[in-house]
């Protein structure tokens, strides 16, 4: 374990790494088996400032820039995917979105509590029939005087099982809007779900809304801005988090693979000396390095508030989730029978990696967007005798 100086221990990124190494790494298997993230872990995350890491200091956060927040996400995600998922949902999807899109009044009401961990937030967009086609949600809202009334049902909502506050998306005759709904509001019911491939300790639940009366001030941004502005802002942040999550899981699998290959002996020699194993290790080393650089590039563009940051984030998310699947699959292969056994981390990492190819926009949706970007950026067409790069 690396030594750290006193000065470094005041750095939130270093503190996050130490927290992950000391408090999470040895318990990730337990969280996965029991299907819950213990309250003491969440409390310690709050105490360490992790839950508000990317939130401006004005609202109780650390105000980390995207590069530092990405590095922090990798540290936590390498130790435990479910704990990292709390950062993705609570900090990226909810807190960062409110910091950008909510009114100061709404931030004052909720964001400081969220950033300091006094409340936990979740992101309620998906429904049984609205997954990738997220704009087609059927949860409805109606404005009645000073309140909005919500009716509908959300599905696969990570951390809904323990969240205090839900960022909910609903439609009114095709007009999408976003609302902050408190768990205790009458008409909100939480139905825990289980049996998932990965993200098992993320308290996934269905949430039903029956005549839930939400104060008008809990509308986020404005009427009609739910999907176009609020959800897309959230997914922009969520994808960045998932991109780093891919690096994290792949890095963890790489370390497992290398440690095993340099110890395990077969045919009278360590398996790491076999060239076909070396190929898997070499590919993993290269892929992890490339994914991390794509994430850093996206982080730099986000820091510059460049309009290219959106596509850079899509590319990083697509690539890192793809290579995480490949690297974890190879880790299982290198570990052989032990790779298929839950007494080793490889099988858990393999399951967790698959999730990343689905959440926050499937790999196929990323491919559509990236291809469209490619046509716009790289297609050279001849118009009127002159070549034009569109």
């Amino acid at each position: 374990m690396r030594q750290v100086s006193e000065e470094q221990t005041r750095d939130p990124v270093v503190r996050a790494r130490l927290f992950a190494e000391h408090e999470l790494a040895d318990r990730a298997g337990e969280f996965d088996r029991t299907g819950r993230l213990p309250r003491d872990v969440i409390r310690k995350m709050a105490d360490e400032g992790l839950l508000g890491a990317a939130v401006p200091k004005r609202w109780g956060g650390h105000g980390l820039d995207p590069l530092a927040y990405g590095e922090l996400t990798e540290s936590v995600g390498k130790a435990c995917a479910s704990t990292r998922a709390l950062l993705t949902v609570h900090t990226s999807l909810v807190c960062e979105t409110l910091a950008e899109r909510a009114s100061d009044r709404l931030k004052g009401k909720y964001l400081t509590d969220l950033a300091t961990g006094r409340r936990i937030g979740c992101f309620a967009l998906s429904e049984a029939e609205a997954g990738s086609d997220a704009a087609s949600v059927t949860t409805r809202y109606v404005k009645k005087g000073d309140i909005f009334v919500l009716d509908g049902r959300k599905k696969w909502i990570s951390f809904a099982g323990i969240a205090d506050l839900l960022l909910v998306f609903a439609n009114d005759n095709g007009v999408s809007s976003a609302f902050l709904v408190e768990r205790d509001m009458p008409g909100v019911e939480i139905h825990p779900m289980s049996g998932f491939l990965g993200n098992r300790a993320t308290h996934i639940a269905e949430v039903s809304f029956t005549d839930v009366e939400v104060p008008a001030e809990n509308l986020v941004s404005g009427i009609g801005l739910g999907f176009g502005f609020v959800a897309n802002t959230a997914l922009f942040h969520g994808r960045y988090s998932i991109a780093w999550a891919g690096v994290a899981i792949a890095q963890a699998a790489l370390e497992v693979m290398c440690a095993y290959a340099t110890e395990r002996e077969q045919f009278g020699t360590r398996i790491g000396s076999h060239q076909l194993v070396q190929k898997m290790v070499a590919d993993a080393v290269t892929q992890v390095a490339a994914a991390r650089e794509l994430c850093r590039r996206a982080g730099r563009l986000r820091l510059e508030r460049s309009t290219d940051a959106v596509m850079a984030t899509n590319i990083a998310k697509y690539f890192s989730s793809t290579i995480a699947q490949q690297v974890t699959s190879d880790a299982v292969q290198v570990l052989g029978g032990n790779g298929c056994w839950d007494q080793y981390p490889a099988e858990r990492l393999f399951r967790e990696a698959k999730i990343l190819e689905i959440i926050e926009g499937t790999s196929q949706l990323q491919q559509l967007m990236i291809a469209d970007y490619g046509y716009k950026k790289f297609a050279v067409r001849s118009r009127g005798g002159e070549d034009e790069v569109l």
Partner: protein, 98 residues
């Protein structure tokens, strides 16, 4: 009533704003459709852009023109056409004393 030279300057600034917005919109329109984009076209209704475009457009306007779009100006209507965005940018710049 503004002087003729001032009106001319304002018109020039509006034309520059419209040109910058037009270029950005064109660069971000769905690539596989041949469309003739007019400044008063509602590109959400016509399906010229993807859903994430509105958020990108807000970031583009704030970073390119050095203005902050207040919450009450962030409406789909204000971001639905080149004309509406040009008008909004002009009004916000005017309010800022530029």
């Amino acid at each position: 009533m503004p002087s003729e030279s001032l009106t001319s300057m304002e018109n020039g600034a509006a034309a520059d704003t419209a040109a910058a917005i037009r270029n950005y919109v064109r660069a971000n329109m769905t690539a596989l459709r041949d469309v003739d984009l007019r400044d008063d076209d509602n590109f959400f209704e016509k399906g010229f852009v993807t859903s994430i475009f509105a958020m990108q457009m807000l970031d583009f306007i704030e970073s390119t023109f050095g203005i902050e779009v207040p919450d009450d100006r962030i409406t789909l209507q204000n971001f639905s056409s080149i004309d509406s965005m040009t008008r909004m940018v002009g009004e916000l710049k005017h309010a800022a004393g530029e």
